[in-house]
């Protein structure tokens, strides 16, 4: 049966194998004189062991189908907004990026009214910039138009 532990164990095994493969480019050194790849390889082997154990002992774990994913639409939307913010932050500037991100989440995902969405998005973006950049002197990115 496909259980949560079995899936997680398999993923950990896969990750360990990727690390072991990627470590081939680095000098391993020896047991007495470890090189830069020594510790990562040792940890990957340990993780491989834990992953395999998890997968083997996974019988009593809950079935994967029992995990609820009802919120997945929201999760994907938030994930996309974060990715947009990472891409746009230094291109469009903090205020524009945050205002657009909030507008999308409030207006499109949460379906709030357009006036409330616009007011909250702009007020938060401008307010946070003022607080952190202007008052607390934490430099935040400005876009091409100085926004």
């Amino acid at each position: 049966m496909l259980t949560t532990d079995r899936v997680a164990g398999a993923a950990l095994v896969l990750l360990s194998l990727v690390v072991l493969w990627e470590s081939r480019r680095l000098p391993l050194g020896s047991l007495r004189n470890p090189g830069p790849a020594f510790m990562p390889v040792a940890l990957a082997v340990v993780l491989l062991g834990f992953g395999a154990l998890l997968a083997v002992l996974a019988g009593k774990a809950p079935a994967l189908s029992s995990v609820g994913w009802t919120e997945w639409r929201h999760a994907v939307a938030i994930f996309v907004v974060c990715a947009f913010a990472a891409l746009a932050l230094e291109r469009l500037g903090f205020r524009v990026t945050i205002a657009l991100s909030l507008a999308f989440l409030l207006g499109v995902v949460e379906r709030k009214g357009s006036i409330l969405t616009a007011v909250l998005s702009i007020a938060f973006a401008v307010g946070a910039f003022l607080l952190f950049d202007t008052f607390l002197r934490v430099p935040l990115p400005r876009g091409p138009l100085g926004l």
């Binding site: 993780l47 999760a75 946070a128 430099p139």
Partner: protein, 510 residues
């Protein structure tokens, strides 16, 4: 003792200066707000607000961050009692009897008992921290790389042992965290490891994007689409006074919670969560009316709330005296101190006494500030919870992006936060704890350096770890813990960690 008192006077002369007092106050207010907000616990809160302290000197910054930590611990109890939503994980146990008291019309009394218990525990545990940290730091001056290696490994093993749920899963998460901590330049040879040409990864993965991703973003991803939270019970100010019986019933639980919390706090692990669980179990066991637990027993609020606040100070002992974080929150505090040029460890108390003792004294002050804040202003904080979550979470998300970006001024950190958020969300769904990942990321470079230095000292002989008494003892304790932790795999029984996991799951569902 006379020297300690003299140093404390020095500390108070710093902590009571108006600017430091102001930063302690601001930290406590912001921390309480952070604790009240569902989804932003102390860990994400400290990480997010770290950039706001960049313009401050080290003492003010540390005092403010400690205030945020304390405030978040206090604030967490408010949502637990009024909404049955733990503002942070340590308040899970308070939900049970705190919310039951609120439904009986005793919300004010529950909040008052929680605030007074937290104040007593916070103050007493700071005295213990003050007495324990300096001698421990003197002892730690004897530590060389082998002792540090053994101590760090033991720290991870204890964290895995103390985590709720399976120790195997916790160890796997610690190994994953250590692997993530390997990314970046190898400190001894200068090789770039797994950075794939991304220059920003040269310094490794920062603890702030990892912590905010795994805790802040993952929480938002998991909860944003859920139905709206239940109605808030709003207490009136005149209802805040507990009855004589309630005071009597909570006196001993507060005392026991304080001692238990501090002792558990020193030990590495998610101390504040475990301490509240242990305290609740102890109080139910010792109670003359155990049947009242779950129905609004005041001891079920007083004990766990005192314990989790006491554990907060306890967790500072190994961090300040040894420079070794005992959990994810002290790990972020350690990183924050390093950003400000302060290296916690045995030499801190000798080299920067004004910072250490100022910090200790500001904890006393912070506790008073929180007591004053929490009771009369509870209505103000509760109003924040009236903002609908669909409006609140986009703002919290924007703060996550802002906070993570501002630490290094790098969008790479925002990407790391995003990946960690997705990882945390999936791990949460699969029933894994993510705290060991954060600690692993912080400890990885320290462990590797200590191992390689030890081998350089011994000409490559691993026996150095067994020939030195301190490291041998520490590793021996670690071995015992592994054996104890893996016992349920053989016996197939439910140990205390499995029971804790069941309680946490039950609270999440309800």
């Amino acid at each position: 003792m006379a020297e300690t008192l003299q140093n404390l006077v020095l500390g108070f002369s710093i902590a009571l200066s108006p600017p430091i007092l102001l930063y302690a106050f601001v930290g406590c207010v912001v921390g309480t707000l952070v604790g009240v907000l569902p989804g932003v616990g102390p860990l994400a809160g400290i990480s997010l607000l770290l950039p706001a302290t960049f313009g401050l000197d080290a003492t003010r910054a540390i005092v403010m961050l400690a205030g945020i930590y304390y405030g978040a611990m206090y604030g967490g109890s408010t949502t637990s009692i009024l909404m049955r939503i733990p503002g942070e994980a340590a308040s899970v146990m308070t939900c049970i009897d705190g919310y039951a008291m609120a439904r009986k019309g005793r919300a004010g009394a529950a909040l008052a008992i929680a605030a007074v218990g937290s104040y007593v525990a916070g103050t007493v545990s700071v005295v213990a921290l003050m007495l324990l940290a300096p001698p421990l730091a003197s002892f730690a001056l004897r530590f060389g790389p082998p002792e540090y290696f053994a101590l760090l490994v033991l720290g991870l093993l204890v964290l895995a042992y103390m985590s709720s749920g399976s120790m195997l899963k916790a160890l796997a998460m610690a190994a994953l965290g250590l692997l993530l901590g390997m990314i970046g330049i190898d400190q001894m040879t200068g090789y770039f490891r797994y950075s794939y040409g991304v220059v920003e990864l040269g310094d490794g993965i920062g603890v702030v994007p990892v912590a905010v991703g795994l805790f802040g973003l993952a929480e938002i991803l998991a909860t944003a689409g859920l139905p709206a939270p239940p109605q808030v019970v709003k207490p009136r100010l005149r209802e805040l006074l507990p009855t004589r019986r309630e005071w009597r019933d909570s006196a001993w639980p507060i005392g026991r919670g304080t001692v238990l919390g501090f002792l558990i706090g020193i030990v590495p692990g998610s101390a504040h969560i475990i301490s509240s669980f242990v305290s609740y179990a102890v109080e139910r066991k010792l109670s003359k009316r155990p049947e009242e637990f779950g129905q609004g027993a005041v001891a079920g609020v007083a004990g766990p709330e005192s314990a989790n606040n006491s554990a907060t100070s306890g967790a500072f002992v190994p961090m300040l005296a040894l420079g070794v974080p005992s959990g994810p929150i002290p790990a972020v505090m350690l990183a924050a101190m390093m950003v400000h040029g302060v290296s916690p460890g045995p030499l801190l108390i000798k080299q920067q006494p004004e910072l250490f003792w100022g910090f200790i004294a500001s904890m006393y002050v912070g506790n008073v500030v929180l007591l004053i804040l929490n009771l009369p202003l509870v209505g103000v904080f509760v109003n924040i919870l009236r903002v609908p979550y669909p409006i609140l979470y986009p703002m919290i998300l924007a703060f996550c992006i802002l906070g993570v970006y501002a630490v290094n001024g790098s969008v790479v950190d925002v990407w790391i936060m995003l990946m960690m958020g997705a990882l945390g969300y999936l791990l949460r769904k699969l029933g894994f704890e993510t705290a060991p990942i954060v600690l692993g990321v912080v400890l990885a470079p320290m462990i590797e350096m200590a191992l390689r230095q030890s081998l350089a000292m011994s000409d490559g002989r691993y026996s150095i770890f067994l020939l030195r008494p301190i490291s041998a003892t520490l590793l021996g304790v670690g071995l015992i813990l592994i054996t104890l932790g893996l016992k349920p795999l053989v016996t197939r029984g439910l140990d205390w960690r499995a029971r804790l996991a069941l309680v946490e799951k039950g609270e999440e569902r309800s």
